[in-house]
């Protein structure tokens, strides 16, 4: 065999080898998809554009600059937590009712719970075996990989969300948590724009988007909060704020963009007649699943002979699962293809 034949043979061998591998691990991957918890959506590991550069109109300084952020896979609630879900929690944990509990235009079972503070939201999520999403997780779930301005795209459409006092004067002022299906995000999350503001995990800092934390960022590390008392006993102005996202039924159009950042005191349950939340959850065996999904991607890239991209993908897989022999072998194969 001459050199060229050798290469072709090698390539054919590699591709068929990888195809077999692909088929072998596919059931595992599809099982992971099927296992998405009820009423949650999967946001796959990968990069997304967080924030927006200040060259555009109607954006605020704290949303800049636009930056590529890497996030591991996670699940996020498809809907804002409803009054009926929150009722289960109140009963199970003898938790106090939220601020707008006796406001009939807001307290129907399928409307989002309104009038919770950050501690209520955090306690609920842990009760549900979940957690609050980080600010970056919230933003990625809302805007999708293409970085759209609104969950559904780049054009403001009044029919796709409840905002700008959209429902005031009507029988109910917030919409059901499953309303506006055509306004859902790329990943399938509903009402990420309008309806109620949503608490996220992070502390608020106006310059956080310009920091170097680009891999699974968790917000500024200002102080560790163990309970309500630790925060509220701090006198002003050390009192720190938590981020709220997404705008509300009451909020004007410029505050319902996927990049808009707002803040509220973590103990304040009454901000703006519309303060709710949704939860997120880690993938079971997170790193492993993530590495696997990078590996899958690698095999597809190799099949397309896109070796440079394949190399970066397999490198990511090895971050999650550094000792995996399968991954290492594939990496060697790719390196050989790149430098024969």
């Amino acid at each position: 065999m001459n050199h060229k034949q050798k290469l072709t043979f090698g390539r054919t061998f590699t591709i068929s080898f990888l195809t077999v591998l692909c088929l072998a691990i596919w059931p595992n991957v599809s099982r992971a998809v099927i296992a998405t918890p009820e009423d949650m959506v999967l946001v796959n590991a990968g990069g997304f554009t967080r924030g927006i550069d200040n060259t555009k109109n109607n954006t605020f300084m704290d949303e800049a600059p636009a930056k590529m952020i890497y996030l591991s896979s996670y699940y996020i609630d498809k809907f804002e937590v409803s009054n009926s879900k929150y009722t289960e929690f109140i009963i199970a944990r003898d938790h106090p009712a939220p601020a707008y509990w006796d406001q009939r235009k807001l307290n129907q079972p399928n409307q989002p719970v309104t009038g919770v503070n950050w501690f209520d939201a955090d306690t609920y999520c842990h009760w549900a075996n979940k957690r609050l999403p980080t600010e970056a997780e919230w933003e990625k779930a809302a805007r999708g990989p293409a970085g759209s301005t609104y969950p559904w795209g780049d054009k403001l459409e009044y029919s796709k969300a409840n905002f700008a006092k959209g429902k005031s004067g009507q029988k109910y002022i917030t919409d059901s948590v499953d309303a506006h299906p055509d306004g859902k995000s790329y990943y399938g999350a509903y009402n990420m724009a309008g309806n109620v503001f949503e608490w996220v995990q992070d502390w608020y800092s106006s310059n956080y988007y310009s920091t170097d934390e680009t891999r699974n960022p968790i917000g500024p590390k200002l102080q560790k909060v163990k309970n309500v008392a630790a925060v509220s006993s701090k006198p002003e102005p050390e009192l720190k704020k938590k981020v709220i996202r997404g705008g509300s039924w009451f909020a004007p159009a410029q505050s319902i963009t996927t990049t808009h950042r707002f803040w509220n005191d973590p103990i304040n349950n009454s901000y703006g007649v519309g303060l709710g939340f949704r939860c997120a959850q880690n993938l079971a065996n997170d790193l492993e699943a993530e590495a696997r999904s990078f590996y899958m991607k690698t095999l597809i890239l190799v099949g397309d002979e896109k070796y440079k991209k394949a190399l970066s993908s397999i490198t990511n897989a090895l971050i999650g699962s550094p000792k995996n022999k399968e991954y290492r072998a594939v990496k060697l194969l790719i390196e050989k293809e790149l430098n024969p």
């Binding site: 601020a99 006796d102 406001q103 009038g115 006198p235 349950n269």
Partner: protein
């Protein structure tokens, strides 16, 4: 000419004195019955096995004597205040017409009022908004009852709670249910309308409060709201239970009463 000028000056002076009296006058402007709560200690807060963390520990607190409204402030009372001060009508929870034009609701408790509305009303009436401790003592007496009527579990016979909105049937008249009144005869301290009190909310306050005439923390973000309302679960209508909300919060279930 001079006489005219003099008369005009007199008129201005009298008007000025009268309007001053409007603000500082001590005369009670609502004729609602009040109960006297004698000076002395009472049991405030909840024991370890009862209630929530922010109500603990249970302590003996001394309060000077004071009076408190026997009932929640009614729509009629509040509308008198609106008329005599030229303020805007509060939101009408029952329909789209003005609250003053709504029939059959005069004796229901006023709701849809902010903490400032409550403070202003009490001041206008020559009274003040009770402190959290004054409210709690008036509700549960000296011996630390769980509910105003005792430790018996609440029922729809005793209290208006855990109900869904039902138009003008939702809230009870302010004088309803003498049988569930507190040891001092104060009515409506569990359920019906939640009630604004003067104090800022701090989850630590039951631990740190002075044991004599506590007035609440000096700063805060939320005000305390006591007693629970028509939609509350039973845990939230306990006398020690501590609701909370920003001073601009308004709902179909938040009202108040005054003290003096």
């Amino acid at each position: 000419m001079n006489v005219k000028k003099y008369a005009f000056l007199m008129f201005i002076t009298i008007f000025f004195i009268c309007s001053q009296k409007d603000v500082y006058g001590n005369a009670l402007r609502d004729s609602v019955e009040m109960k006297t709560i004698p000076a002395g200690e009472f049991i405030m807060g909840s024991k370890m096995d009862e209630g929530r963390a922010d109500e603990r520990p249970q302590r003996k607190i001394y309060l000077d004597s004071y009076e408190i409204d026997s009932y929640e402030v009614s729509n009629n009372q509040y509308l008198n205040f609106i008329r005599s001060t030229g303020r805007k009508d509060p939101l009408n929870p029952y329909s789209e017409i003005l609250l003053s034009d709504e029939a059959g609701v005069g004796n229901l408790p006023i709701v849809q009022v902010t903490w400032y509305d409550a403070v202003d009303y009490c001041r206008w009436a020559g009274k003040y908004l009770p402190s959290e401790s004054q409210w709690e003592k008036a509700a549960r007496g000296e011996k630390g009852l769980v509910f105003p009527w005792g430790s018996k579990k609440p029922s729809q016979e005793l209290a208006n709670y855990q109900k869904n909105w039902d138009g003008i049937q939702t809230l009870w008249p302010v004088s309803a249910k003498i049988e569930s009144s507190s040891p001092y005869g104060v009515i409506g301290m569990a359920g019906n309308a939640r009630e604004w009190v003067k104090d800022w909310y701090s989850p630590e306050y039951y631990k740190n409060a002075p044991s004599s005439n506590p007035q609440g923390p000096s700063v805060g973000i939320l005000k305390v709201i006591k007693g629970g309302s028509w939609h509350s679960f039973k845990s939230d209508i306990r006398s020690a239970s501590r609701g909370k909300g920003g001073f601009a919060l308004k709902t179909d279930g938040i009202g108040f009463r005054c003290a003096k």
